[in-house]
């Protein structure tokens, strides 16, 4: 259903809200954008799809003046513009919610929402808190968020913060007299379904008077909320799809340039679980936000923990990795009691952890892909106490290839990679030693495209088959159901129930939701 390139806007149609022609952007060693064309019509929701590293974020950043393109033109309502800064873009009515969260943690939600455009809330440099509160409340009301506008942002949950981001970008409405263009770069990757519903309602409302560009790796979402999807591949526009009647598989085919499967479950590949001694056995574990956790994970088993925000599942994971202190309980690995006072101890016990907040906790931005990958397992890259450069290079290259990590080279700083590729590097970190016994995965597929996602799923399977025990905090209930052999449901710091999840007899999401709330 791809339509041919539309270089010339047809004269009869109304002027597009935004048009991009031949945009090019080079980074050292990477051509992030290679002549991209894009049209955003007025009153439409345009989806942008593409693999990790396809250039979506770069393109969008160019639209808000954060990236200066090397070549190409941007037209706003038919008029060629040069966007030099976020302010420039905002003045043209273009605003963006970023892929990585961008709120100031120690300011109030209200200040974040109005940041850089306080308007009447700040007069002559002096704050009027009552006005600020009111203006922010208006934005929050739009998206139905119940948070206190004067709460400090770092006291809010991750999802609430995402709502604050959206409320913030909706301020564009007030700023420009023209219909705004609002860009949402993966806003849903950290939201839960109810919040996503709220967001989509907002997007539909926005369409009445604005244009929206929406990016998500969840293709069903894209097809759900968008009118039209534009697909990027390797920095080039490869076509468009009208969403009416389209299916994810088709979109995926365009994204990767060949036929593939959107089947990201591997239900049938589950390893048979040996029932002798559990690999991980937790009894009565209690900490600040969880109590009396019992948990067994056998070698080769994948156990998912599901629960709403504040259920304490993240902290359980972190306790198992020696980050969160515990007040009671015992942890056994392969029957041997272990104490996990710090991450070193956890690593030594053969435990690995992939944190959800990749940017701050997962990677060391300025360091190379190779160094990020080999930070943990020294034996794999060293000869005696010394780093063996050849060995390290070979090892790293092997894993770059194995996980199809898209990087100019192993010496590229990891911060230059796209989000999905960064995640693959972080995951590889635990695998390279071939000695991992228990893997704790906190939202391991957050921000990954379907290709990468399938690969992570395949990897998890492979690891399970080879005997690694896995605890998974999944990105969605579907993911949990698809991957897990067993699912624990947590609520308010306790395990409320355990649901078996064998092949062929999977529970439905609804079964789980019932237990969660």
């Amino acid at each position: 259903m791809s339509v041919p390139d539309q270089r010339e806007p047809t004269t009869s149609a109304p002027v597009p809200a935004l048009e991009v022609r031949g945009l090019v952007k080079h980074y050292p060693g990477v051509k992030a954008l290679d002549g991209v064309d894009l049209v955003v019509h007025q009153h439409e929701v345009l989806g942008l799809a593409g693999e990790n590293g396809a250039g979506k974020s770069t393109l969008l950043k160019a639209l808000v003046g954060l990236v200066t393109p090397d070549a190409g033109e941007i037209y706003v309502r038919g008029e060629a513009v040069k966007l030099r800064s976020v302010v420039d873009a905002a003045d043209h009515g273009i605003g963006m919610v970023f892929q990585e969260q961008s709120l100031v943690p120690n300011l109030t939600a209200a200040e974040n929402i109005l940041l850089g455009g306080e308007g009447p809330a700040v007069r002559r440099g002096v704050y009027r808190w009552d006005v600020m509160r009111r203006l922010a409340q208006e934005q929050l009301d739009k998206i139905g968020s119940k948070i206190d506008p004067l709460a400090r942002t770092d006291t809010l949950s991750f999802a609430d913060r995402q709502m604050v981001e959206i409320a913030k970008v909706l301020r564009i409405e007030q700023r420009s007299q023209h219909p705004p263009v609002i860009i949402l770069d993966e806003p849903t990757s950290v939201l839960e379904s109810k919040e996503i519903d709220t967001l989509f309602a907002q997007i539909r409302r926005l369409r009445e008077f604005a244009s929206v560009v929406f990016v998500s790796h969840r293709l069903d979402e894209v097809l759900d909320v968008c009118d039209r999807v534009s697909v990027l591949r390797g920095g080039q526009s490869v076509g468009e799809v009208a969403t009416a009647g389209a299916v994810p598989r088709e979109l995926h085919r365009m994204m990767i340039g060949s036929t593939g499967s959107d089947d990201h479950y591997h239900e049938n590949a589950a390893a048979s679980v040996e029932a002798e001694q559990p690999r991980l056995s937790v009894r009565g574990l209690s900490g600040k936000s969880f109590r009396d956790i019992d948990l067994d994970v056998a070698a080769g088993e994948i156990v998912a923990i599901v629960g709403v925000h504040g259920s304490g599942r993240e902290d359980v994971c972190r306790a198992l990795f020696g980050i969160e202190p515990t007040s009671a309980g015992e942890i056994r690995m392969d029957g041997k009691k272990v104490s996990l006072p710090n991450t070193r101890a956890a690593c030594a016990a053969g435990i690995g952890y992939v944190p959800a907040e990749r940017k701050n906790e997962g990677m060391v931005g300025p360091m190379s892909v190779a160094e990020n990958m080999t930070l943990t397992k020294q034996k794999a890259r060293c000869a005696g106490p010394f780093v063996a450069p050849r060995k390290q290079a070979g090892l790293v290259d092997r894993w770059i290839e194995r996980l199809s990590i898209r990087t100019p080279g192993r010496d590229t700083p990891i911060q230059r990679l796209s989000g999905g590729n960064q995640q693959k590097v972080v995951l590889a970190r635990w695998l390279i030693g071939d000695d991992i016994r228990l893997l704790l995965l906190d939202h391991p597929t957050r921000g990954l495209d379907i290709g990468a996602r399938s690969e992570v799923y395949r990897l998890m399977r492979e690891l399970a088959t080879s005997g690694v025990a896995t605890v998974l905090l999944a990105d969605s209930l579907e993911e949990a159901i698809g991957m897990a052999d067993r699912i624990l449901v947590m609520n308010d710091g306790r395990v409320v129930t355990e649901v078996a999840c064998p092949n062929g007899d999977k529970p439905t999401p609804l079964d789980l939701v019932k237990e969660m709330v």
Binding site: N106, Y127, A151, D160, K168, V308, N342
Partner: protein, 332 residues
């Protein structure tokens, strides 16, 4: 799928933590005060309490200035030089024994403006030359001392301006005018911090500078403005020292750089930025002054005084951070 109670509950926990962590320094202050009061009757005399508060005046003003810089996550070591330059400037502009100037208040303002200029210089070096503030302000401090030495020219300027001299001598409600000036500075500082864009943005820059840029805020002018504001406080502090000593000394700011940082940190302002504030710092200043005074009052040997003070400061900070200790906390 979100259960709001869960969110609210966890938020409450964090809020309580925040209140608890703010309580650390004041509690430490009360404890230390109580210990000295128990050990020494002179310490708890009204006279001595007045004396402590008076002695805190200059440090309080310097700390007020540095707090804004620390809130941004930067550091400022320029106070020693700026105060020296300001001290000589003011002592040569008000009635003095070196020349016939008698500009009074205008001279004082000129010294404060000079402080602003030096602060501005630090800020510009930071944002234009991209020199880390540690080094930029160290350089500016050296420049300030050089300027002060030039102005000194071998002969000590003594001031005879009655108004400036009266600041250190005259009292209102038992406290010297200098102390009231310091109190006014704290009040102004607090208002700036809470109610002005400059103050809130300084706070925000310490929290997440890159986010401000993404939100279209030009942070550079604010950074320069914060350093300039800090410079104004140092300039005033130089004037205050001159009033106290009755003379313009090149060394007027000796040691204030590190003492002010110590006081701010003891009060709960983070060196990494984004937390604390003028009131926190004021508590820190009083704590440090109580310590210095108390150790003399209880008669700790002069040989050991510095050491004991260092030990107590470390202990106080350690005690204050206990409630907020987390395993994966970043402490630089």
């Amino acid at each position: 799928m979100t259960v709001t109670t869960g969110v609210a509950a966890s938020r409450r926990i964090i809020r309580r933590g925040a209140a608890f962590r703010d309580a650390g320094p004041p509690v430490a202050l009360v404890v230390i005060f109580a210990v000295f009061a128990a050990l020494s009757p002179q310490f708890r005399s009204i006279d001595n309490v007045q004396n402590i508060v008076d002695a805190a005046a200059v440090l309080a003003v310097v700390t007020c200035g540095i707090t804004f810089v620390l809130m941004m996550g930067s550091i400022d070591l320029s106070s020693a030089g700026v105060m020296g330059a300001s001290a000589l400037t003011v002592s040569l502009l008000v009635a003095n024994n070196r020349n016939d100037n008698d500009f009074g208040l205008v001279g004082i303002l000129a010294a404060i403006v000079l402080g602003c200029a030096f602060g501005c210089l630090s800020g510009l070096a930071l944002v234009l030359l991209k020199v880390p503030s540690f080094m930029a302000t160290l350089g500016v401090s050296a420049i300030g001392l050089g300027v002060a030495t030039l102005l000194f020219a071998g002969v000590q300027p003594n001031i005879s301006d009655t108004m400036l001299k009266s600041w250190a001598i005259e009292r209102f409600l038992g406290l010297s005018y200098l102390t009231w000036i310091a109190a006014a500075c704290i009040l102004v500082g607090w208002l700036v911090q809470r109610y002005t864009r400059l103050g809130r943005y300084a706070f925000a820059i310490g929290g997440a500078e890159e986010v401000l840029t993404l939100s279209g805020v030009k942070v550079k002018p604010y950074k320069v403005a914060v350093f300039t504001l800090a410079g104004a406080f140092y300039g005033l502090a130089g004037v205050m020292v001159t009033s106290q000593l009755g003379a313009g000394l090149v060394q007027a700011g000796n040691g204030y750089d590190f003492s002010a940082i110590t006081a701010a940190v003891v009060g709960g302002t983070l060196l990494t930025g984004g937390r604390g504030g003028v009131l926190h710092s004021a508590v820190g200043v009083v704590l440090v002054m109580v310590l210095t005074n108390g150790l003399v009052q209880v008669g700790v040997s002069p040989y050991w005084q510095g050491g004991v003070e260092g030990l107590i400061v470390v202990a106080a900070v350690a005690a204050a951070v206990i409630p907020q200790r987390r395993r994966n906390q970043v402490v630089k």
